[in-house]
């Protein structure tokens, strides 16, 4: 469905992305993981044409995504990391504006807005101006806005930042349900459990370069699916093993206290990207 071919992005002379190539299949939930400044948001902005590449092409079903390719852009929406909402508009007006921008028929946009706002608990706030909403409400509104046109591809750039755990799970339910119905998602997040739970494949990005693309479980297995966490005077250290027996054999030789647990995506992130989560 989506294809990034030899994408390079420079700001002045600094390379932000370098030789990025990958494909996302229709109906896939695809994750982009990397530390702050790795280039994830730049990639989202390139796909949504907020930025244009210095080199390379981005295709949706073999059609190049450009600022003027209206037919292609109809099929994509974005939840940006920042609150890209008009502060002077009410919740209802934000949805109405989106419906008009995507040329959704009047009856449909009214009905679907109501359904989405109801699901996200925003119906009682629909007359409030955006500037009166809390951060979490704005996040939910941005997701409602992105889903209103029923796009084929949704770009989610840290969509659940600032949401309480209940709202976050509510969002996960909504987007995973839509993914099961065939909607394609590209997600950047710093919540590893979110990525592990939702994404079918994950791209690891470091300093603008693509390190690996694989399903979460495969990335974990590459590292070793059992982790031994050792608490020593020098700090907490992890060692990874293919199976429990090898892990126990290693743990038996330790003098310091240890914990045996399943390896997770956060371990992969720390090990592969060489530093903690910023």
């Amino acid at each position: 469905m989506l294809e990034l071919i030899e994408i390079e992005k420079k700001f002045q002379e600094k390379k932000i992305l370098e030789n990025i190539n990958f494909k996302v299949d229709k109906g896939e939930f695809f994750g982009l993981l990397g530390s702050n400044g790795a280039g994830k948001t730049t990639m989202i902005k390139l796909i949504s044409t907020l930025l244009l590449p210095s080199h390379g092409k981005i295709l949706l079903d073999r059609n190049e995504i450009t600022r003027n390719n209206v037919e292609i852009k109809k099929r994509i929406t974005t939840v940006t990391q920042e609150y890209t909402l008009r502060g002077d508009m009410s919740v209802d007006e934000i949805m109405e504006y989106q419906g008009r921008l995507y040329r959704i028929p009047r009856e449909q946009r009214k009905r679907d807005s109501k359904d989405l706002l109801e699901f996200c608990g925003l119906m009682e706030h629909r007359k409030k101006r955006v500037r009166e909403l809390s951060g979490g409400m704005k996040r939910k509104l941005m997701l409602c806005r992105a889903l209103l046109p029923k796009p084929e591809l949704v770009l989610l750039d840290e969509p659940t930042v600032g949401l309480d755990p209940f709202s976050r799970r509510q969002m996960w339910d909504l987007i995973s349900g839509l993914n099961q119905q065939g909607m394609t998602f590209i997600l950047t997040t710093h919540y590893m459990e979110e990525a592990q739970m939702l994404c079918k494949r994950i791209a690891l990005i470091d300093e603008g370069r693509l390190l690996d693309i694989a399903p979460p479980l495969e990335l974990i297995n590459q590292l070793g699916n059992i982790a031994v966490e050792v608490v020593s005077p020098g700090g907490i250290q992890q060692e990874y093993f293919r199976n429990r027996e090898l892990a126990l054999a290693y743990a038996g030789s330790l003098n310091d206290p240890f914990t045996l647990r399943q390896t997770n995506l956060e371990d992969v992130f720390i090990k592969r990207l060489g530093r903690g989560i910023d």
């Binding site: 044409t49 907020l50 930025l51 244009l52 590449p53 994509i76 929406t77 974005t78 502060g87 921008l101």
Partner: protein, 245 residues
């Protein structure tokens, strides 16, 4: 049609802020009328007409210019750099040419609204000026030109301060020297040659000709159309090719 969507957006903006918009649009022109018209120029005659009759078309032209430029330039600058809500428009399937034309029409209507308020006040002051349909058409065209300039300035600006600087260095000087408060003929020749190419000079001149009951200059009309098209095309090219908008 995306033009209608932009007009709807401008209407919502107006609906929420109409009182502030109205007050802001009126305060400067009223002060100009009081200071220059009633204060300094009460007994003056320009080109055989009272100074008030000379001044009012100029004030209507500059009011239309300021209201249109600010309605688009300032608003779009905030939407692009502060609220970032322009990102959602840019990512949407909105044809960018239609978006700019919508902004121009919306800004122009705001300009006409402000200009009409001043016209009403001028009549209360007993201004001896004639108004016809072409007068409003010139106000509309003036608004279109400066709304297009507003889009261009908002897109080119890299910071909020840039748009204020643009106002200070481009709009403010035009307000005072653009054939508004005193005739171009009285200016030093070097300044006159600069002022004669400014768009506000031509819109002031057109409004004044109509208000005197004289035929409107086709050349000035043509120059205004050219300015409108040039500002619009520059804005469109900039939006289309800018890699880091």
């Amino acid at each position: 049609m995306a033009i209608l969507t932009v007009l709807w957006e401008k209407w919502i903006e107006f609906k929420h802020e109409w009182l502030k918009i109205t007050g802001t649009a009126m305060i400067s022109p009223i002060l100009y009328l009081l200071t220059f018209g009633l204060g300094l120029g009460m007994d003056k005659v320009v080109d055989g007409h009272s100074y008030m009759a000379f001044l009012i078309p100029g004030i209507i032209a500059l009011t239309t210019m300021n209201a249109s430029f600010n309605a688009i330039g300032m608003s779009l600058n905030v939407q692009r750099l502060y609220e970032k809500s322009f990102d959602n428009v840019l990512a949407s399937p909105t044809p960018l040419g239609q978006y700019i034309i919508g902004q121009m029409i919306g800004g122009s209507l705001r300009g006409m609204y402000a200009g009409s308020l001043i016209l009403g006040i001028a009549y209360i002051f007993g201004a001896p000026i004639q108004v016809n349909l072409i007068f409003f058409l010139v106000m509309l065209l003036n608004g279109m030109a400066f709304s297009a300039l507003g889009v261009m300035a908002a897109i080119i600006s890299k910071t909020h301060a840039d748009i204020s600087r643009f106002s200070t260095f481009v709009i403010l000087p035009m307000t005072f020297i653009g054939n508004t408060f005193f005739p171009v003929a009285n200016m030093p020749s070097l300044l006159k040659s600069v002022v004669q190419v400014l768009p506000l000079t031509h819109s002031s001149s057109l409004l004044r000709q109509i208000s005197y009951g004289e035929p409107a200059s086709l050349a000035s009309f043509f120059i205004m159309v050219v300015y409108t098209i040039v500002f619009m095309v520059v804005a469109l090219i900039k939006i289309n090719i800018s890699k880091n908008l």
